[in-house]
Symmetry: C2
Subunit: 314 residues, 2 copies
Protein backbone atom coordinates (compact mmCIF):
# COMPACT_ATOMS: atom_id res chain seq x y z
CA UNK A 1 0.00 0.00 0.00
CA UNK A 2 1.06 3.57 -0.64
CA UNK A 3 0.25 6.09 2.04
CA UNK A 4 -0.44 9.63 0.89
CA UNK A 5 -0.57 12.67 3.18
CA UNK A 6 -3.08 15.07 1.70
CA UNK A 7 -4.53 18.54 2.13
CA UNK A 8 -7.17 19.96 -0.22
CA UNK A 9 -6.74 21.33 -3.72
CA UNK A 10 -3.04 20.50 -4.23
CA UNK A 11 -3.61 16.99 -2.97
CA UNK A 12 -6.67 16.47 -5.15
CA UNK A 13 -4.70 17.58 -8.21
CA UNK A 14 -1.92 15.11 -7.38
CA UNK A 15 -4.30 12.25 -6.56
CA UNK A 16 -6.14 12.61 -9.88
CA UNK A 17 -2.86 11.54 -11.45
CA UNK A 18 -1.81 8.96 -8.90
CA UNK A 19 -5.02 6.96 -9.33
CA UNK A 20 -4.21 6.67 -13.04
CA UNK A 21 -1.03 4.73 -12.34
CA UNK A 22 -1.78 2.93 -9.05
CA UNK A 23 -4.74 0.66 -8.29
CA UNK A 24 -6.97 2.61 -5.91
CA UNK A 25 -7.14 -0.41 -3.60
CA UNK A 26 -3.43 0.06 -2.95
CA UNK A 27 -3.85 3.65 -1.77
CA UNK A 28 -4.52 4.97 1.71
CA UNK A 29 -4.87 8.74 1.80
CA UNK A 30 -4.52 10.41 5.19
CA UNK A 31 -6.48 13.62 5.01
CA UNK A 32 -6.25 16.87 6.92
CA UNK A 33 -9.12 17.68 9.27
CA UNK A 34 -7.60 20.71 10.97
CA UNK A 35 -9.65 22.93 8.62
CA UNK A 36 -12.89 21.25 9.65
CA UNK A 37 -15.47 23.66 10.98
CA UNK A 38 -18.95 23.58 12.40
CA UNK A 39 -21.17 25.93 10.42
CA UNK A 40 -24.89 26.26 11.13
CA UNK A 41 -24.42 23.26 13.40
CA UNK A 42 -23.11 21.14 10.52
CA UNK A 43 -19.71 19.46 10.42
CA UNK A 44 -17.84 20.62 7.33
CA UNK A 45 -14.64 18.80 6.26
CA UNK A 46 -13.34 20.92 3.40
CA UNK A 47 -10.20 18.94 2.57
CA UNK A 48 -11.81 15.50 2.71
CA UNK A 49 -14.64 16.76 0.51
CA UNK A 50 -12.35 18.38 -2.04
CA UNK A 51 -10.64 15.01 -2.50
CA UNK A 52 -13.94 13.13 -2.61
CA UNK A 53 -15.61 15.46 -5.07
CA UNK A 54 -12.49 15.57 -7.27
CA UNK A 55 -12.01 11.81 -7.46
CA UNK A 56 -15.76 11.18 -7.60
CA UNK A 57 -16.26 13.55 -10.51
CA UNK A 58 -18.47 16.01 -8.62
CA UNK A 59 -16.01 18.86 -8.19
CA UNK A 60 -16.47 22.36 -9.56
CA UNK A 61 -13.55 22.13 -11.97
CA UNK A 62 -13.18 25.92 -12.21
CA UNK A 63 -12.62 26.74 -8.55
CA UNK A 64 -11.38 23.22 -7.68
CA UNK A 65 -13.48 23.03 -4.52
CA UNK A 66 -17.20 22.64 -3.95
CA UNK A 67 -19.68 20.96 -6.24
CA UNK A 68 -20.25 21.40 -9.95
CA UNK A 69 -23.60 22.93 -10.97
CA UNK A 70 -23.98 24.23 -7.46
CA UNK A 71 -26.90 26.32 -6.20
CA UNK A 72 -27.18 28.36 -3.01
CA UNK A 73 -30.83 28.33 -2.04
CA UNK A 74 -30.33 27.08 1.50
CA UNK A 75 -27.59 29.57 2.33
CA UNK A 76 -29.68 32.40 0.92
CA UNK A 77 -32.56 31.35 3.16
CA UNK A 78 -30.31 30.87 6.18
CA UNK A 79 -29.45 34.57 6.03
CA UNK A 80 -33.01 35.16 7.20
CA UNK A 81 -32.11 33.51 10.49
CA UNK A 82 -28.38 33.77 11.12
CA UNK A 83 -25.29 35.68 10.24
CA UNK A 84 -22.59 33.26 9.15
CA UNK A 85 -22.62 34.40 5.59
CA UNK A 86 -18.82 34.71 5.36
CA UNK A 87 -18.67 31.00 4.59
CA UNK A 88 -21.01 30.06 1.78
CA UNK A 89 -22.15 26.47 1.48
CA UNK A 90 -23.81 25.25 -1.69
CA UNK A 91 -26.93 23.09 -1.68
CA UNK A 92 -25.27 19.98 -3.14
CA UNK A 93 -22.33 20.36 -0.81
CA UNK A 94 -24.71 20.77 2.14
CA UNK A 95 -26.13 17.31 1.57
CA UNK A 96 -22.70 15.90 2.42
CA UNK A 97 -22.46 17.98 5.60
CA UNK A 98 -25.99 17.11 6.67
CA UNK A 99 -25.30 13.41 6.21
CA UNK A 100 -21.93 13.55 7.93
CA UNK A 101 -23.35 15.50 10.89
CA UNK A 102 -26.28 13.13 11.31
CA UNK A 103 -23.93 10.13 11.35
CA UNK A 104 -21.49 11.77 13.76
CA UNK A 105 -24.40 12.58 16.09
CA UNK A 106 -25.34 8.90 15.91
CA UNK A 107 -21.89 8.18 17.33
CA UNK A 108 -20.27 6.96 14.11
CA UNK A 109 -16.58 8.01 13.92
CA UNK A 110 -15.57 10.49 11.22
CA UNK A 111 -13.32 7.87 9.57
CA UNK A 112 -16.29 5.54 9.18
CA UNK A 113 -18.56 8.28 7.82
CA UNK A 114 -15.82 9.30 5.41
CA UNK A 115 -15.63 5.72 4.14
CA UNK A 116 -19.41 5.74 3.62
CA UNK A 117 -19.17 8.98 1.68
CA UNK A 118 -16.29 7.91 -0.57
CA UNK A 119 -18.06 4.61 -1.22
CA UNK A 120 -21.20 6.51 -2.21
CA UNK A 121 -19.05 8.37 -4.72
CA UNK A 122 -17.63 5.13 -6.14
CA UNK A 123 -14.12 5.91 -4.93
CA UNK A 124 -11.90 2.85 -4.47
CA UNK A 125 -9.06 4.29 -2.42
CA UNK A 126 -9.21 4.56 1.32
CA UNK A 127 -9.53 8.13 2.57
CA UNK A 128 -8.84 8.38 6.28
CA UNK A 129 -9.04 11.54 8.36
CA UNK A 130 -5.79 11.90 10.31
CA UNK A 131 -7.89 11.65 13.47
CA UNK A 132 -11.49 11.05 14.51
CA UNK A 133 -11.03 13.42 17.41
CA UNK A 134 -11.92 17.11 17.32
CA UNK A 135 -8.84 19.10 16.35
CA UNK A 136 -8.88 22.61 14.95
CA UNK A 137 -6.16 24.57 13.23
CA UNK A 138 -6.00 27.78 15.17
CA UNK A 139 -4.21 30.91 14.04
CA UNK A 140 -2.85 33.16 16.76
CA UNK A 141 -2.50 36.65 15.33
CA UNK A 142 0.12 39.24 16.26
CA UNK A 143 -2.63 41.35 17.79
CA UNK A 144 -3.43 38.50 20.14
CA UNK A 145 -6.56 36.99 18.62
CA UNK A 146 -7.19 33.29 18.33
CA UNK A 147 -8.96 32.50 15.04
CA UNK A 148 -10.28 29.29 13.61
CA UNK A 149 -8.29 28.68 10.45
CA UNK A 150 -11.36 29.29 8.30
CA UNK A 151 -12.08 32.58 10.07
CA UNK A 152 -8.50 33.63 9.37
CA UNK A 153 -8.47 32.32 5.84
CA UNK A 154 -11.96 32.86 4.46
CA UNK A 155 -13.47 35.55 6.64
CA UNK A 156 -10.34 37.71 7.10
CA UNK A 157 -8.73 36.82 3.76
CA UNK A 158 -5.48 35.85 5.51
CA UNK A 159 -4.82 39.52 6.20
CA UNK A 160 -3.79 39.45 9.90
CA UNK A 161 -0.14 38.99 10.81
CA UNK A 162 0.32 35.54 12.22
CA UNK A 163 2.24 34.80 15.41
CA UNK A 164 1.67 31.08 15.56
CA UNK A 165 -0.35 28.22 14.07
CA UNK A 166 -1.47 25.51 16.49
CA UNK A 167 -3.58 22.42 16.09
CA UNK A 168 -5.92 22.87 19.04
CA UNK A 169 -6.91 19.60 20.63
CA UNK A 170 -4.02 17.71 19.06
CA UNK A 171 -2.43 16.67 22.36
CA UNK A 172 -5.46 14.51 23.14
CA UNK A 173 -6.08 13.29 19.59
CA UNK A 174 -5.45 9.74 18.45
CA UNK A 175 -4.74 8.76 14.86
CA UNK A 176 -7.91 7.40 13.27
CA UNK A 177 -8.21 3.62 13.18
CA UNK A 178 -6.13 2.35 10.26
CA UNK A 179 -3.71 5.29 10.02
CA UNK A 180 -0.80 3.76 11.92
CA UNK A 181 -1.38 0.31 10.40
CA UNK A 182 -1.28 1.80 6.91
CA UNK A 183 1.97 3.65 7.65
CA UNK A 184 3.53 0.50 9.11
CA UNK A 185 2.61 -1.46 5.98
CA UNK A 186 3.50 1.29 3.49
CA UNK A 187 5.78 0.69 0.48
CA UNK A 188 6.21 4.44 0.43
CA UNK A 189 4.75 7.53 2.01
CA UNK A 190 3.96 10.33 -0.43
CA UNK A 191 3.49 13.93 0.64
CA UNK A 192 1.19 15.89 -1.64
CA UNK A 193 1.99 19.43 -2.78
CA UNK A 194 -0.25 20.80 -0.04
CA UNK A 195 0.31 23.51 2.53
CA UNK A 196 3.19 22.26 4.71
CA UNK A 197 1.90 24.14 7.76
CA UNK A 198 -1.90 23.91 7.83
CA UNK A 199 -2.44 20.77 5.72
CA UNK A 200 0.50 18.39 6.13
CA UNK A 201 1.63 20.04 9.37
CA UNK A 202 -1.70 19.39 11.08
CA UNK A 203 -1.67 15.73 10.01
CA UNK A 204 1.82 15.38 11.50
CA UNK A 205 0.67 17.18 14.65
CA UNK A 206 -1.57 14.27 15.61
CA UNK A 207 0.55 12.43 18.15
CA UNK A 208 1.93 9.18 16.77
CA UNK A 209 1.72 9.93 13.04
CA UNK A 210 5.06 11.69 12.61
CA UNK A 211 6.70 9.10 14.86
CA UNK A 212 5.22 6.23 12.84
CA UNK A 213 6.50 7.71 9.59
CA UNK A 214 9.97 8.35 11.04
CA UNK A 215 10.00 4.82 12.43
CA UNK A 216 8.91 3.08 9.23
CA UNK A 217 11.24 1.70 6.59
CA UNK A 218 9.17 3.20 3.83
CA UNK A 219 10.77 6.00 1.84
CA UNK A 220 9.03 9.33 2.22
CA UNK A 221 8.78 11.32 -0.98
CA UNK A 222 7.15 14.70 -1.33
CA UNK A 223 6.20 16.96 -4.21
CA UNK A 224 7.15 20.56 -3.58
CA UNK A 225 4.11 22.81 -3.29
CA UNK A 226 6.28 25.81 -4.12
CA UNK A 227 7.16 26.50 -7.73
CA UNK A 228 9.47 29.41 -8.46
CA UNK A 229 8.93 30.94 -5.03
CA UNK A 230 5.17 30.92 -5.35
CA UNK A 231 2.31 28.53 -5.55
CA UNK A 232 0.42 27.31 -8.59
CA UNK A 233 -3.02 27.09 -7.04
CA UNK A 234 -4.42 27.18 -3.55
CA UNK A 235 -2.55 28.39 -0.53
CA UNK A 236 0.45 26.14 -0.13
CA UNK A 237 2.74 29.16 0.24
CA UNK A 238 0.82 30.76 3.08
CA UNK A 239 1.95 30.61 6.66
CA UNK A 240 5.39 29.21 5.83
CA UNK A 241 6.94 32.46 7.11
CA UNK A 242 4.93 32.08 10.33
CA UNK A 243 6.83 28.87 11.07
CA UNK A 244 10.16 30.36 10.02
CA UNK A 245 10.34 28.54 6.69
CA UNK A 246 11.43 30.10 3.42
CA UNK A 247 8.85 30.13 0.63
CA UNK A 248 10.86 28.01 -1.79
CA UNK A 249 11.31 24.40 -2.84
CA UNK A 250 14.37 24.29 -0.58
CA UNK A 251 12.60 26.03 2.29
CA UNK A 252 9.83 23.46 2.40
CA UNK A 253 12.30 20.55 2.16
CA UNK A 254 14.18 22.00 5.14
CA UNK A 255 10.90 22.49 6.98
CA UNK A 256 10.04 18.79 6.62
CA UNK A 257 13.58 17.96 7.73
CA UNK A 258 14.35 14.38 8.73
CA UNK A 259 10.88 13.22 7.69
CA UNK A 260 11.75 13.45 4.00
CA UNK A 261 13.82 11.08 1.85
CA UNK A 262 12.99 12.32 -1.62
CA UNK A 263 11.75 15.61 -3.07
CA UNK A 264 10.19 16.33 -6.43
CA UNK A 265 10.73 19.91 -7.55
CA UNK A 266 9.65 21.86 -10.58
CA UNK A 267 11.83 22.46 -13.60
CA UNK A 268 11.91 26.21 -12.81
CA UNK A 269 13.48 25.36 -9.46
CA UNK A 270 16.19 23.12 -10.96
CA UNK A 271 18.83 25.42 -9.48
CA UNK A 272 17.64 24.35 -6.01
CA UNK A 273 18.55 20.75 -6.80
CA UNK A 274 22.11 20.81 -5.48
CA UNK A 275 21.17 22.51 -2.20
CA UNK A 276 18.36 20.05 -1.61
CA UNK A 277 20.66 17.12 -2.41
CA UNK A 278 23.05 18.47 0.22
CA UNK A 279 20.24 18.03 2.74
CA UNK A 280 20.58 14.31 2.00
CA UNK A 281 17.50 14.05 -0.18
CA UNK A 282 17.00 12.31 -3.51
CA UNK A 283 15.87 15.06 -5.85
CA UNK A 284 13.81 14.67 -8.99
CA UNK A 285 12.95 17.43 -11.40
CA UNK A 286 9.63 17.48 -13.23
CA UNK A 287 7.00 19.72 -14.66
CA UNK A 288 4.83 19.89 -11.52
CA UNK A 289 2.02 22.24 -12.54
CA UNK A 290 -0.54 19.41 -12.10
CA UNK A 291 -2.90 21.37 -14.31
CA UNK A 292 -4.29 18.32 -16.06
CA UNK A 293 -4.59 14.62 -15.36
CA UNK A 294 -1.76 13.46 -17.68
CA UNK A 295 0.64 15.91 -16.04
CA UNK A 296 -0.51 14.81 -12.57
CA UNK A 297 0.01 11.17 -13.55
CA UNK A 298 3.52 12.00 -14.78
CA UNK A 299 4.40 13.77 -11.53
CA UNK A 300 3.01 10.85 -9.53
CA UNK A 301 5.12 8.46 -11.61
CA UNK A 302 8.23 10.50 -10.86
CA UNK A 303 7.47 10.44 -7.12
CA UNK A 304 6.96 6.67 -7.18
CA UNK A 305 10.20 6.24 -9.13
CA UNK A 306 12.12 8.24 -6.53
CA UNK A 307 10.54 6.08 -3.82
CA UNK A 308 11.47 2.87 -5.68
CA UNK A 309 15.07 4.04 -6.06
CA UNK A 310 15.38 4.83 -2.36
CA UNK A 311 13.73 1.52 -1.47
CA UNK A 312 16.15 -0.31 -3.75
CA UNK A 313 19.10 1.20 -1.91
CA UNK A 314 17.89 0.23 1.56
Amino acid sequence: VYVVLAGGIGAARFLRGLVRIVDQRDLTVIGNVGDDIELHGLHVSPDLDTITYTLGGGIDTEQEWGRAQETFTVTDELRRYRDESWFTLGDRDLATHIHRTARLRDGVPLSHVTAEITTAWGIGLRLLPATDDPVRTTVITRDGRSLHFQEYWVREHAAPDVEQVVLAGAEHALPAAGVLDAIAAARAVLICPSNPVVSIGTILAVPGIREAILGSHAPVVGVSPIVGGGVVRGMADRLLPAVGAEVSATGVARHYGPLLDGWVIDRVDADHGATIAELGLDVAIADTMLDDVPNAAAVAAVALEVAATIRGRR
Copy 2:
Protein backbone atom coordinates in the same frame (compact mmCIF):
# COMPACT_ATOMS: atom_id res chain seq x y z
CA VAL B 1 -54.88 38.01 25.13
CA TYR B 2 -56.54 35.31 23.09
CA VAL B 3 -55.07 31.84 23.29
CA VAL B 4 -55.38 29.69 20.19
CA LEU B 5 -54.75 25.93 20.11
CA ALA B 6 -53.37 25.13 16.68
CA GLY B 7 -52.34 22.23 14.46
CA GLY B 8 -51.08 22.73 10.90
CA ILE B 9 -53.06 23.53 7.77
CA GLY B 10 -56.51 24.01 9.35
CA ALA B 11 -55.03 26.25 11.99
CA ALA B 12 -53.05 28.29 9.49
CA ARG B 13 -56.21 28.84 7.45
CA PHE B 14 -58.09 30.03 10.53
CA LEU B 15 -55.23 32.23 11.79
CA ARG B 16 -54.94 34.04 8.43
CA GLY B 17 -58.39 35.35 9.22
CA LEU B 18 -58.00 35.90 12.93
CA VAL B 19 -54.99 38.20 12.45
CA ARG B 20 -57.18 40.42 10.25
CA ILE B 21 -59.52 41.20 13.12
CA VAL B 22 -57.28 40.91 16.21
CA ASP B 23 -53.99 42.72 16.83
CA GLN B 24 -51.26 40.08 16.58
CA ARG B 25 -49.77 41.29 19.88
CA ASP B 26 -52.95 40.06 21.57
CA LEU B 27 -52.58 36.51 20.25
CA THR B 28 -50.75 33.57 21.75
CA VAL B 29 -50.88 30.48 19.58
CA ILE B 30 -50.06 27.17 21.24
CA GLY B 31 -48.76 24.89 18.51
CA ASN B 32 -48.64 21.13 18.18
CA VAL B 33 -45.20 19.54 18.27
CA GLY B 34 -46.30 15.89 18.40
CA ASP B 35 -45.68 15.67 14.64
CA ASP B 36 -42.10 16.88 15.02
CA ILE B 37 -39.56 14.50 13.61
CA GLU B 38 -35.82 14.22 13.29
CA LEU B 39 -34.91 13.69 9.64
CA HIS B 40 -31.29 13.51 8.48
CA GLY B 41 -30.41 14.63 12.00
CA LEU B 42 -32.47 17.80 11.62
CA HIS B 43 -35.38 18.79 13.85
CA VAL B 44 -38.47 19.33 11.71
CA SER B 45 -41.56 21.02 13.25
CA PRO B 46 -44.17 20.72 10.50
CA ASP B 47 -47.08 22.40 12.27
CA LEU B 48 -45.11 25.34 13.66
CA ASP B 49 -43.60 25.91 10.23
CA THR B 50 -46.92 25.71 8.39
CA ILE B 51 -48.20 28.50 10.64
CA THR B 52 -45.02 30.54 10.27
CA TYR B 53 -44.80 30.23 6.52
CA THR B 54 -48.52 30.97 6.11
CA LEU B 55 -48.54 34.09 8.28
CA GLY B 56 -45.09 35.16 7.02
CA GLY B 57 -46.12 34.92 3.37
CA GLY B 58 -43.69 32.14 2.48
CA ILE B 59 -46.12 29.25 2.19
CA ASP B 60 -46.72 27.21 -0.94
CA THR B 61 -50.29 28.37 -1.39
CA GLU B 62 -51.20 25.36 -3.55
CA GLN B 63 -50.36 22.57 -1.14
CA GLU B 64 -50.68 24.79 1.98
CA TRP B 65 -47.49 23.46 3.53
CA GLY B 66 -43.83 23.93 2.66
CA ARG B 67 -42.28 26.91 0.94
CA ALA B 68 -43.31 28.71 -2.22
CA GLN B 69 -40.89 28.46 -5.17
CA GLU B 70 -39.30 25.47 -3.51
CA THR B 71 -36.42 23.43 -4.92
CA PHE B 72 -35.16 20.01 -3.86
CA THR B 73 -31.45 19.98 -4.61
CA VAL B 74 -30.30 18.94 -1.14
CA THR B 75 -32.79 16.09 -0.85
CA ASP B 76 -31.82 14.83 -4.29
CA GLU B 77 -28.17 14.81 -3.23
CA LEU B 78 -28.95 13.22 0.12
CA ARG B 79 -30.25 10.16 -1.71
CA ARG B 80 -26.64 9.49 -2.63
CA TYR B 81 -25.91 8.87 1.05
CA ARG B 82 -29.08 7.84 2.86
CA ASP B 83 -32.50 6.38 2.37
CA GLU B 84 -35.08 8.58 4.04
CA SER B 85 -36.65 9.64 0.81
CA TRP B 86 -40.21 9.03 1.99
CA PHE B 87 -40.18 12.49 3.58
CA THR B 88 -39.05 15.13 1.12
CA LEU B 89 -37.66 18.39 2.46
CA GLY B 90 -37.27 21.38 0.19
CA ASP B 91 -34.16 23.55 0.15
CA ARG B 92 -35.84 26.69 1.48
CA ASP B 93 -37.62 24.69 4.16
CA LEU B 94 -34.34 23.01 5.11
CA ALA B 95 -32.83 26.35 6.06
CA THR B 96 -35.40 26.58 8.85
CA HIS B 97 -34.64 23.07 10.07
CA ILE B 98 -30.88 23.63 9.93
CA HIS B 99 -31.19 26.83 11.94
CA ARG B 100 -33.58 25.31 14.46
CA THR B 101 -31.38 22.25 14.95
CA ALA B 102 -28.24 24.33 15.41
CA ARG B 103 -29.96 26.47 18.05
CA LEU B 104 -31.42 23.45 19.87
CA ARG B 105 -27.95 21.86 19.93
CA ASP B 106 -26.69 25.10 21.49
CA GLY B 107 -29.14 24.44 24.31
CA VAL B 108 -31.75 27.02 23.30
CA PRO B 109 -35.31 25.80 24.05
CA LEU B 110 -37.65 25.16 21.13
CA SER B 111 -40.00 27.92 22.30
CA HIS B 112 -37.16 30.44 22.14
CA VAL B 113 -36.00 29.26 18.70
CA THR B 114 -39.60 29.41 17.48
CA ALA B 115 -39.80 33.03 18.64
CA GLU B 116 -36.60 33.82 16.73
CA ILE B 117 -38.01 32.21 13.61
CA THR B 118 -41.38 33.97 13.74
CA THR B 119 -39.61 37.27 14.40
CA ALA B 120 -37.39 36.66 11.37
CA TRP B 121 -40.60 36.27 9.36
CA GLY B 122 -42.02 39.53 10.73
CA ILE B 123 -44.83 37.77 12.57
CA GLY B 124 -46.23 39.73 15.51
CA LEU B 125 -48.18 37.02 17.32
CA ARG B 126 -46.59 34.72 19.84
CA LEU B 127 -46.27 31.15 18.60
CA LEU B 128 -45.44 28.78 21.43
CA PRO B 129 -44.84 25.07 21.08
CA ALA B 130 -47.04 23.25 23.59
CA THR B 131 -43.84 21.96 25.18
CA ASP B 132 -40.08 22.34 24.82
CA ASP B 133 -39.65 18.70 25.77
CA PRO B 134 -39.36 15.85 23.29
CA VAL B 135 -42.80 14.37 22.71
CA ARG B 136 -43.79 12.28 19.71
CA THR B 137 -47.19 11.30 18.46
CA THR B 138 -46.98 7.55 18.13
CA VAL B 139 -49.47 5.40 16.27
CA ILE B 140 -49.91 1.85 17.53
CA THR B 141 -51.26 -0.24 14.68
CA ARG B 142 -53.62 -3.21 14.94
CA ASP B 143 -50.77 -5.43 13.78
CA GLY B 144 -48.75 -4.32 16.77
CA ARG B 145 -46.31 -1.84 15.24
CA SER B 146 -45.36 1.44 16.85
CA LEU B 147 -44.98 4.15 14.20
CA HIS B 148 -43.93 7.75 14.44
CA PHE B 149 -46.92 9.77 13.28
CA GLN B 150 -45.08 10.88 10.14
CA GLU B 151 -44.16 7.30 9.31
CA TYR B 152 -47.83 6.35 9.64
CA TRP B 153 -49.09 9.39 7.82
CA VAL B 154 -46.55 10.19 5.13
CA ARG B 155 -44.68 6.95 4.59
CA GLU B 156 -47.59 4.53 4.98
CA HIS B 157 -50.27 6.92 3.71
CA ALA B 158 -52.40 6.32 6.83
CA ALA B 159 -53.20 2.85 5.54
CA PRO B 160 -52.64 0.69 8.66
CA ASP B 161 -55.53 0.07 11.04
CA VAL B 162 -54.93 2.05 14.19
CA GLU B 163 -55.30 0.62 17.67
CA GLN B 164 -54.23 3.65 19.64
CA VAL B 165 -52.61 7.08 19.36
CA VAL B 166 -50.28 8.08 22.17
CA LEU B 167 -48.10 11.10 22.77
CA ALA B 168 -44.87 9.37 23.72
CA GLY B 169 -42.91 11.29 26.32
CA ALA B 170 -45.91 13.35 27.39
CA GLU B 171 -45.88 12.15 31.00
CA HIS B 172 -42.54 13.87 31.58
CA ALA B 173 -43.24 16.93 29.43
CA LEU B 174 -43.80 20.39 30.84
CA PRO B 175 -45.76 23.13 29.09
CA ALA B 176 -43.34 25.54 27.41
CA ALA B 177 -42.60 28.72 29.34
CA GLY B 178 -45.50 31.13 28.78
CA VAL B 179 -48.17 28.56 27.94
CA LEU B 180 -49.85 28.36 31.34
CA ASP B 181 -49.49 32.11 31.93
CA ALA B 182 -51.17 32.83 28.62
CA ILE B 183 -54.05 30.49 29.43
CA ALA B 184 -54.47 32.04 32.86
CA ALA B 185 -54.64 35.52 31.32
CA ALA B 186 -56.81 34.56 28.33
CA ARG B 187 -60.00 36.43 27.40
CA ALA B 188 -60.92 33.32 25.44
CA VAL B 189 -59.36 30.10 24.27
CA LEU B 190 -59.99 29.30 20.62
CA ILE B 191 -59.60 25.81 19.19
CA CYS B 192 -58.69 25.78 15.51
CA PRO B 193 -60.35 23.42 13.03
CA SER B 194 -57.41 21.05 13.35
CA ASN B 195 -57.23 17.33 13.92
CA PRO B 196 -58.81 16.75 17.35
CA VAL B 197 -56.67 13.67 17.98
CA VAL B 198 -53.17 14.32 16.64
CA SER B 199 -53.08 18.12 16.65
CA ILE B 200 -55.29 19.46 19.45
CA GLY B 201 -55.22 16.16 21.34
CA THR B 202 -51.44 16.16 21.61
CA ILE B 203 -51.40 19.74 22.89
CA LEU B 204 -53.93 18.74 25.57
CA ALA B 205 -51.86 15.65 26.38
CA VAL B 206 -49.06 17.78 27.81
CA PRO B 207 -49.71 17.59 31.54
CA GLY B 208 -51.09 20.85 32.90
CA ILE B 209 -52.49 22.35 29.70
CA ARG B 210 -55.92 20.72 29.75
CA GLU B 211 -56.17 21.37 33.49
CA ALA B 212 -55.25 25.04 33.03
CA ILE B 213 -57.93 25.49 30.37
CA LEU B 214 -60.57 23.71 32.45
CA GLY B 215 -59.58 25.81 35.45
CA SER B 216 -59.64 29.17 33.68
CA HIS B 217 -62.65 31.48 33.47
CA ALA B 218 -62.07 32.07 29.79
CA PRO B 219 -64.69 30.69 27.44
CA VAL B 220 -63.39 27.96 25.14
CA VAL B 221 -64.72 28.17 21.60
CA GLY B 222 -63.83 25.81 18.80
CA VAL B 223 -64.42 25.70 15.07
CA SER B 224 -65.50 22.28 13.88
CA PRO B 225 -62.92 20.66 11.61
CA ILE B 226 -65.62 18.40 10.22
CA VAL B 227 -67.97 19.74 7.56
CA GLY B 228 -70.75 17.48 6.34
CA GLY B 229 -69.09 14.37 7.75
CA GLY B 230 -65.79 15.04 6.01
CA VAL B 231 -62.97 17.47 6.05
CA VAL B 232 -62.32 20.41 3.77
CA ARG B 233 -58.54 20.18 3.62
CA GLY B 234 -55.87 18.33 5.53
CA MET B 235 -56.51 15.42 7.81
CA ALA B 236 -58.77 16.64 10.56
CA ASP B 237 -61.10 13.66 10.07
CA ARG B 238 -58.42 11.02 10.44
CA LEU B 239 -57.98 8.99 13.57
CA LEU B 240 -61.26 10.15 15.14
CA PRO B 241 -62.57 6.56 14.88
CA ALA B 242 -59.40 5.33 16.62
CA VAL B 243 -60.41 7.30 19.71
CA GLY B 244 -64.06 6.24 19.46
CA ALA B 245 -65.31 9.57 18.14
CA GLU B 246 -67.83 9.98 15.34
CA VAL B 247 -66.61 11.86 12.26
CA SER B 248 -69.14 14.70 12.51
CA ALA B 249 -69.48 18.17 13.96
CA THR B 250 -71.33 16.60 16.89
CA GLY B 251 -68.82 13.80 17.28
CA VAL B 252 -65.91 16.21 17.69
CA ALA B 253 -67.86 18.40 20.12
CA ARG B 254 -68.57 15.31 22.21
CA HIS B 255 -64.92 14.30 21.97
CA TYR B 256 -63.79 17.63 23.43
CA GLY B 257 -66.45 17.23 26.14
CA PRO B 258 -66.26 19.51 29.17
CA LEU B 259 -63.38 21.50 27.68
CA LEU B 260 -65.67 23.26 25.22
CA ASP B 261 -68.12 26.14 25.83
CA GLY B 262 -68.91 27.15 22.28
CA TRP B 263 -68.80 25.44 18.89
CA VAL B 264 -68.84 26.96 15.42
CA ILE B 265 -70.25 24.57 12.82
CA ASP B 266 -70.76 24.82 9.11
CA ARG B 267 -74.03 25.74 7.46
CA VAL B 268 -74.27 22.22 5.96
CA ASP B 269 -74.23 20.83 9.50
CA ALA B 270 -76.98 23.15 10.76
CA ASP B 271 -79.08 20.10 11.60
CA HIS B 272 -76.47 19.17 14.24
CA GLY B 273 -77.14 22.45 16.06
CA ALA B 274 -79.85 21.21 18.41
CA THR B 275 -77.91 18.10 19.45
CA ILE B 276 -74.81 20.15 20.15
CA ALA B 277 -76.81 22.70 22.14
CA GLU B 278 -78.11 19.81 24.23
CA LEU B 279 -74.50 19.12 25.18
CA GLY B 280 -74.60 22.53 26.85
CA LEU B 281 -72.65 24.37 24.17
CA ASP B 282 -73.30 27.71 22.54
CA VAL B 283 -73.59 26.92 18.85
CA ALA B 284 -72.93 29.27 15.96
CA ILE B 285 -73.48 28.48 12.32
CA ALA B 286 -71.22 29.89 9.64
CA ASP B 287 -69.70 29.18 6.27
CA THR B 288 -66.49 27.57 7.58
CA MET B 289 -64.67 26.57 4.41
CA LEU B 290 -61.82 28.98 5.27
CA ASP B 291 -60.83 28.94 1.62
CA ASP B 292 -59.86 32.59 1.50
CA VAL B 293 -58.82 35.26 3.96
CA PRO B 294 -62.16 37.15 4.07
CA ASN B 295 -63.98 33.90 4.86
CA ALA B 296 -61.40 33.00 7.51
CA ALA B 297 -61.79 36.46 9.07
CA ALA B 298 -65.58 36.02 9.11
CA VAL B 299 -65.31 32.64 10.84
CA ALA B 300 -62.86 34.09 13.36
CA ALA B 301 -65.28 36.94 14.05
CA VAL B 302 -68.08 34.46 14.70
CA ALA B 303 -65.88 32.50 17.12
CA LEU B 304 -64.94 35.68 19.00
CA GLU B 305 -68.60 36.72 19.12
CA VAL B 306 -69.55 33.38 20.67
CA ALA B 307 -66.76 33.82 23.20
CA ALA B 308 -67.93 37.35 24.03
CA THR B 309 -71.50 36.16 24.54
CA ILE B 310 -70.39 33.40 26.91
CA ARG B 311 -68.11 35.82 28.75
CA GLY B 312 -70.98 38.28 29.08
CA ARG B 313 -73.10 35.64 30.77
CA ARG B 314 -70.46 34.65 33.32
